[in-house]
Amino acid sequence: MSTTYVKAAESVEHAARLEHVSKSFAGPGGQQLVLDDISLDVAPGEFVTLLGASGCGKSTLLNLVAGLDKPSAGSITTHGRPALMFQEHALFPWLTAGKNIELALKLRGVPKSDRRGRAEQLLELVRLKGSYGKRVHELSGGMRQRVAMARALAQDSQLLLMDEPFAALDAITRDLLHDELTRIWEETGLSVLFVTHNVREAVRLAQRVVLLSSRPGRVAREWQVDIPQPRRIEDAPVAELSLEITEVLRGEIRRHGQH
């Protein structure tokens, strides 16, 4: 029934720990169970993708982990407030790219004198050096998502939650952002919980893929992905594992058509 933030100083065994988490919403036919008894650990520095078809409650789950909503049952433990990235960039249009990042720093309590330098550093990390003064509307879709990534990193959280952050991008840009995300994850040692409905994307990025069933969302199966990075989305091993996972996913979806 609770979301707990543990101080980072305490032993860090899990970047996030979900124990028997359930969530139901009041629907037209009474309570509607969206997530059913989900237990999931994300190890420090681990990259986990949550995969599922529509109605599996992926986004609901991320909202719970982000602390934007409370579980109906079970508990969620994270270290500090996780950073969250959305499908839309969610950058504030009244601020420049750099000031968006600085706002995150400010809200975290970084002193004013350090903010500018740190923002520039983060922009360099997502390879947008020189975009500090750019307005959001002057940036392309891919650049906006990279600024959003820099803003999420500015929260200096152990855990980065990503809610289909590349779903609205074109294929070429998405490929590039996969490369960037892998690089940044390797450089920063962050834990990432990445939600997607794209099987190949899940396999391309993750060390572990967790498949959720739909209505209600349950953990259906897990796969360890041992393909070495850097991977490409069209690599044979990626395609092979994707095929296997897709088969299972289709089986899950098929069950819903039978009754």
Partner: protein
């Protein structure tokens, strides 16, 4: 091991160059300033032409004796000499300043009251249910209706003028802020909350700046209402103690049966309303919209 490092580096370099290319291709092409000739042709010339056409039609009505009664329609030259006389007597700027200073001061009061009021109505459900409908209903009440009660309560003085302005402008400003806040995308609020912007911090860093365009539209309308209310008050409640503003000038013209003075007053009222809008509110609104990429050059 060395070979994987090399492939990694070369892959990285490949990503960097593709990314740089893509950024360059996709980033919007931002044009420079519009050349003056174009601004002149598109923005300045048309209103000048329109004014000249109106003057020409007006003059034609006089010249061809279609309207042959200076107590009904004075000639442009008569109105012009009225302006000239007021200018030479040094009263023209006094008329304008009396009204404009009242209008702007009243507007500032309305701003100071309407803004917190709008915030409370937008954020507190009970207050909204209680006075929200009244607040939007008040906008359709002509502010001239407030003049008689204001005179009875406060007498013929400046506070009565300010009261009328407030009653006219506060609802517009508050309503503008309310609709601005209502239209803040929920995504911004969620993004703010994940970054720790909740409560007052959320209001200051997220809600207010996001609501700014709606708020500005409310201010603009608030000014129009201030000005109209003030003119109504000045026309109805003229008294020697109050000094001669533009509304009083109009009323004096009517009493003196001087149609050219009436025209002079009407032109001045119109002119001031337009000038304040063009000099203050339009640039402010344009600047806010442009900085957010909401203004599309057509």
């Amino acid at each position: 091991m060395a070979s994987t490092e090399t492939t990694k580096t070369s892959a990285l370099r490949d990503v960097m160059s593709v990314e740089a290319g893509l950024d360059a291709l996709e980033a919007g092409v931002t044009g420079g300033r519009t050349p003056f000739r174009q601004t002149f042709g598109n923005k300045i010339l048309p209103p000048i032409v329109a004014t000249l056409v109106v003057l020409a039609v007006w003059q034609a009505l006089i010249s061809f004796k279609i309207v042959d009664d200076p107590t009904r329609l004075p000639s442009p030259a008569d109105v012009g000499s009225e302006f000239k006389r007021a200018w030479l007597e040094g009263t023209l700027l006094d008329y304008i300043w009396t009204s404009v200073s009242r209008g702007l001061l009243g507007f500032l009061f309305a701003l100071a009251i309407g803004t917190p009021l709008g915030l409370v109505v937008a954020r507190v459900k009970f207050v909204r249910a209680a006075i929200g409908p009244v607040l939007s209903g008040l906008q359709s009440l002509p502010s001239v209706a407030w003049v008689p009660p204001a005179v009875i309560w406060l007498g013929l003085n400046n506070s009565m003028m300010y009261a009328v302005i407030l009653l006219g402008a506060v609802p517009s400003i508050a309503n503008g802020l309310v609709s601005g806040i209502d239209q803040v995308p929920p995504l911004f609020l969620r993004a703010g909350r994940t970054m720790g912007a909740t409560g007052l911090k959320g209001a200051w860093h997220i809600v207010l700046p996001a609501a700014l365009p709606g708020y500005l539209a409310g201010l603009k309308q608030g000014w129009a209402f201030s000005w109209r209310s003030l003119m109504a008050a000045e026309i109805i409640a003229s008294s020697p103690d109050l000094g001669i503003g533009l509304g009083a000038l109009l009323e004096n013209g009517r009493n003196a049966s001087s149609m050219s003075m009436v025209f002079e007053a009407i032109f001045l009222i119109l002119f001031v309303g337009i000038a304040i809008d063009l000099l203050i509110f339009s640039p402010l609104e344009r600047w806010v919209l442009r900085s957010r990429g909401l203004l599309v050059k057509s």
